[in-house]
């Protein structure tokens, strides 16, 4: 039994599909004969061209969810399609906030489990998924048993996105059925943080700081370095939880996955949950005063030293060399 049809949950950012949407479409193309997308919002017709270019022949359009958190209506719409006899072999879901909500809701509607934290897919008779464990030192391969579509929640940057040059996906309306009491959560207002420089998950250089910086006031060292390298400033969860920097800076399991050309980790211990978010970087530089810090096990260049000495000196050095 080959894999016939895969659906990809398509998310939108700045009036285009998100990078992970395109990554999932690309991978779906390599494992299945037919790739289709599911989208919501008021802009699906405009997304259809790019979704098609990356391999989706059809996009099911849930339409405007009117301020609701999308998990409930979008899962309802997908479950209705499936109940109507349109059954994919697998549904690929981005590991984002809304993606995870969707997967949890759909799982119960279909009475099918979910495989999460997926970073690879293997196509055989059925689809298997790969999951890094113990901070990425081992890979677990898992599979669904029993009938019904497999729901896979996949981490960003697990696959490279490549267009296939397809024509625009055909837009098919897939309205959400009434969801009753489950659908009460509403977004009243969105708040976006101002950002300078490249996006954290798109930058070719990421400079991240951790608790070793010693205090919120020292994060400016990270920002200045990131600025000099035309990169983005990242953080460990410890300093996000401590309120030094906003959550949007967090790299790791519950934060962003980054794969820059260079990742510079400053005063970060290298906990497993941090490593899974940055271990795929092409080059890793670490500065930590503890020579046994786990971050050094993944570093291409490790400096055993004090961030308060090394970072100011590096800033001066870079200014002098430019």
């Amino acid at each position: 039994m080959a894999i016939d049809k895969i659906w990809v949950l398509a998310e939108e950012r700045e009036s285009g599909p998100t990078p992970i949407t395109l990554e999932l479409l690309t991978e779906a193309r390599t494992v299945a004969t037919t790739v289709e997308a599911v989208a919501w919002g008021t802009n699906t017709a405009a997304l259809a061209a790019t979704l098609g270019e990356y391999g989706a022949t059809t996009v099911y359009d849930v339409g405007d969810v009117q301020g609701a958190l999308p998990g409930v209506p979008v899962a309802g719409a997908v479950a209705a399609l499936i109940a109507g006899g349109n059954v994919p072999d697998a549904i690929l879901v981005p590991a984002t906030y809304d993606g995870r909500d969707f997967a949890g809701r759909l799982s119960v509607k279909l009475d099918r489990p979910v495989l999460t934290n997926v970073t690879g897919l293997v196509a055989g008779d059925s689809l298997s998924s790969q999951h890094p464990v113990f901070g990425g030192s081992h890979i677990v391969t898992a599979q669904f048993t029993g009938p019904g579509p497999g729901i896979f929640v996949i981490r960003a940057k697990s696959f490279a996105a490549e267009p296939a040059g397809g024509s625009p996906a055909q837009v098919v309306a897939a309205p959400a059925p009434a969801a009753g009491s489950a659908s009460g959560a509403r977004i009243l207002q969105k708040h976006e943080e101002a950002r300078t420089g490249p996006k954290l998950d798109e930058a070719s250089v990421v400079v991240s700081g951790g608790r070793g910086l010693g205090g919120a006031e020292h994060y400016s060292l990270i920002e200045e370095l990131a600025g000099l390298l035309h990169g983005a400033a990242g953080a460990s969860r410890a300093i996000v939880d401590a309120g030094w920097v906003p959550y949007s800076h967090q790299v790791g399991q519950t934060g962003k996955t980054v794969k820059p050309t260079v990742y510079l980790a400053c005063g970060i211990s290298g906990a497993t949950q941090h490593l899974v978010g940055m271990k795929g970087s092409k080059n890793i530089v670490a500065v930590n005063k503890d020579q046994d810090a786990p971050i050094f096990s993944v570093a291409d260049l490790g400096i055993v030293g004090d961030v308060h000495k090394v970072l100011p000196a590096l800033i001066e050095e870079l200014k002098a060399r430019s």
């Binding site: 906030y97 890979i139 489950a182 708040h191 870079l318």
Partner: protein, 258 residues
């Protein structure tokens, strides 16, 4: 107001983790402790349910009648606990766990259910939303601030770029991030009081759940293989002798990022 907090009891994350050679799932046979991620939910619940007649109930599913993690949360101030422990539950997947938690929550007449966004050992992050769907309730995930206004819960929910103000009618499930509040340390008095707080031990049958739906029997995912990942290694580690900065600058220059 009755606030239920789902708390997971997990192997100590500081101890080296191991996989059960048979099922290749995490070995949970040793002593278990309160998942640190859930201490934020417990603290949040104690703050929200601080009025007259308010109560915090814990719900946990764990093997071997484990209560040490529950005692920690009871010592923080929760009033009671429901513990689901049953041999039939070994090997449950997140959906099986959610079915059990949802049934246990129904016994507690909750107005609000708090959980962590993800557990430290399983980190599927899907259990809470599955619970909400099973109960037919709304859910708001990734809360970084939670307030109650009458029969409405107001949440600041993390997003990729910032946060959203979200409102939901109660009852609802809310998942809280670490850092949402500072969990209190149990006082000596709290620890003593926790010893006599009620823990309701229930089985799968007590919850009216068909044993074939949960545990290994009901799980519909299997682990087929565990392999070592490609190691990175081969890096150069040098002690800073005042030349650390120039070493980094050289390395960056070599990569043509400066």
């Amino acid at each position: 107001m009755n606030v239920v907090v789902c708390v997971k009891q997990i192997p100590d994350p500081a101890a080296p983790a191991s996989l059960d050679p048979g099922t290749k799932t995490l070995d949970r046979s040793g002593k278990l402790i309160l998942d640190d991620s859930d201490s934020y939910g417990v603290e949040m619940a104690l703050q929200l349910a601080s009025g007259e007649g308010d109560e915090v109930t814990l719900v946990s599913m764990a093997p071997n009648g484990e209560t040490s993690g529950l005692r920690t949360a009871l010592a923080m101030g929760a009033a009671r606990a429901i513990l689901v422990s049953d041999e039939a539950l070994a090997g449950s997947d997140a959906l099986g766990t959610a079915k059990v938690l949802a049934a246990a929550i129904q016994r507690a007449q909750a107005d609000l259910v708090l959980t962590a966004t993800e557990s430290t050992d399983g980190y599927t992050g899907t259990t809470p939303v599955q619970v909400a769907e099973l109960l037919g309730w709304p859910s708001v995930t990734f809360a970084k601030k939670v307030t109650i206004d009458g029969s409405t819960v107001k949440v600041e929910r993390q997003t990729e770029a910032g946060y959203d103000d979200v409102e939901s009618p109660l009852p609802a499930v809310v998942t809280v991030t670490a850092g949402v509040v500072e969990p209190r340390y149990p006082s000596f008095k709290g620890i003593m009081a926790a010893k006599s707080k009620p823990v309701d031990n229930v089985t799968v049958a007590d919850l009216g759940i068909d044993a074939s739906q949960v545990g290994a029997a009901g799980a519909r995912q299997v682990i087929t293989e565990v392999t070592p990942a490609e190691a990175r290694g081969g890096g150069e580690i040098v002690v800073d002798d005042g030349d650390g900065a120039s070493r980094i600058a050289d390395f960056l220059e070599q990569l043509k990022v400066v």
